[in-house]
Symmetry: C2
């Protein structure tokens, strides 16, 4: 008795179905993958096989199928984290949009860990991904090199690289607008004119640098001289932002540019434990959006990155290809938060 005949733990294959339907594996295959009309298989047989497949709980062995097929339609994406709305939306909507287009999304999370980033990229290449999206990658160019060697297209998202097309937020413009908003509200609510503080992010990170540029230019444009010591960019984690703020001794009013919702967690912890609003009032704005941001006392606005817009550009690139040029800049929207009553 062959292995195939015992209906044990082994998964059903087209050979099993062929035997059951008294036909050939080829017929079964073409029926189940939709090419049966082209192959002039009768409707009768097609229905019979479909019924049997259902009944037996058959599912195609993608491994076998992809091995044989020319195209995999797999688009891989690496994402640093799922702990904020920005990357969460990115992953979720990427999956949805890929499916809509008949592509096969495979997303994996790399924990902001450069080694894991590379490993995950290799993994996705092993899966025969045809395109690899590196989202917020620490070293996008290394990933691009990997992909190039395998003949795979890669695209950078959120953080730019020099070796593949990049789609990023217009960090400068949004940071400048957000800074203006913070200044306005400091003036209106507190009668205070800066200079502001900046917290969160990394100086090695393109986005942080661009946001800082906007942060500085907005102040300079109003005749305020930005203070270098006011920039606390020692990482994205909440703990580091909190620690950096704790070392400050700011008395009097304060205006703060918070560079990410992750840093905002640290900011909020610091505010609630170390500041007395009546004595040392604070106003801040956040680069990035969170649904609870609007309800945090002191938050005057959020720069919301346009995930949908970025993904639209992304899929245009996937479908039509694209040159390695300057990064595509996607504008952010600025959400203003009314003063608390």
């Amino acid at each position: 008795m062959s292995d195939r005949e015992q209906n044990s733990s082994k998964r059903t294959t087209i050979y099993d179905l062929a035997k059951l339907a008294n036909t050939s594996p080829t017929a079964v295959s073409s029926i189940l993958n939709g090419t049966w009309k082209k192959r002039r298989i009768s409707k009768r047989l097609a229905e019979e096989v479909t019924r049997l497949a259902e009944e037996q709980g058959y599912s195609t062995n993608i491994q076998a199928s992809l091995l044989r097929r020319a195209r995999s339609n797999i688009v891989g994406m690496i994402v640093p984290k799922y702990d904020n709305r920005y990357f969460g939306d990115m992953a979720e909507r990427f999956e949805a949009m890929a499916r809509e287009r008949g592509l096969f999304p495979v997303v994996t999370c790399t924990q902001r860990n450069p080694d894991l980033e590379m490993e995950a990229a290799k993994e996705l290449l092993s899966f025969q991904a045809e395109t690899l999206i590196a989202t917020g990658a620490t070293d996008p160019d290394r990933i691009t090199a990997l992909c190039k060697a395998a003949g795979v297209t890669s695209i950078n998202l959120d953080l730019p690289g020099s070796a593949a097309p990049s789609i990023i937020s217009d960090n400068y413009a949004a940071a400048r607008a957000l800074t203006e908003m913070i200044l306005d509200r400091c003036a209106a609510d507190l009668g205070w004119t800066g200079p502001l503080h900046f917290v969160g992010g990394r100086m090695s990170d393109h986005n942080t640098l661009e946001r800082l540029r906007g942060f500085r230019d907005a102040q300079t444009a109003r005749g305020i001289t930005p203070v270098e010591q006011n920039v606390l960019a020692r990482g994205y984690s909440a703990d580091q932002s909190e620690a950096a703020l704790e070392q400050l001794r700011v008395t009097g009013p304060m205006g703060l540019f918070v560079n990410s919702t992750i840093s905002l967690e640290g900011v909020m912890r610091w505010i609630t434990t170390h500041r007395d609003e009546a004595e040392h009032p604070i106003r801040f704005g956040t680069f990035d959006w969170d649904p609870f941001g609007a309800f945090l006392p002191g938050n005057v606005g959020m720069a919301r990155q346009d995930v949908g817009g970025m993904l639209a550009h992304l899929f245009a690139l996937i479908e039509n290809g694209g040159e390695v040029t300057a990064p595509i800049l996607v504008p952010c929207s600025l959400e203003s938060i009314a003063a608390a009553r």
Copy 2:
């Protein structure tokens, strides 16, 4: 000239490497997959081939590899959403823990859409997943049936099913404790004793029912008679919670059990637009945790589900197998939020 010789877009295979190293594909394969010592391949050749593979940017074709191998080591997981910390952490830590164990995580997001749920499950079966984790699934038993037919183990997470082992939070106990906390704070802060309101979730959902049971019992135990009209469980979305609250005409103090951070978004919108804290003060507690929850005025506590604990149980089940018994209940932690100053 064969296709294999032209170094064009085609990916490098073990056959290419074998030709370059003047050896056999078998040797190359065993060197690259680590079985070369067992196969008594010389260190010299192993190093040479490894070097070549690196140089050529070789990556294993997982499809081919898995097709032949007996085991895939793939563990699939479906997750409804990435728009809250609970599921985000779940996905992220699942990936990390799976990797630690030499397994291959593939996570996909189903948008709380029952059809997509089934499709995604089929997809993961096609990928030869050996285990499928259905997280927060609408119809876990249908997924289990699918898996059974394919001879694949399935495990329910977050929401229980009757056909596969389930790991869920101890919703009853946590809801009861949270309700007590809300009652305590209503009494302490407002000098008011209930009965409380409940918002968010679905009456068809096991977790909501268990939480409601805890909600009711906690009140009854204090001699408060729960009011059925106070239960507003018409879905998990923020909009629906907001709309349900808008239809209320509650004057005077109010105590609210918020069933999920998603519903909390709606609650916060309603509070900020429709309530005047001085006139109609409100205290609420949230089932589920969000980093910004602690800073929302009126929030007295959060029941935080123990993602790490649930996943520990999950991997124990994956590794040792498990019977279909009553769901494993994982206790939640209760985070108390001090009164605003």
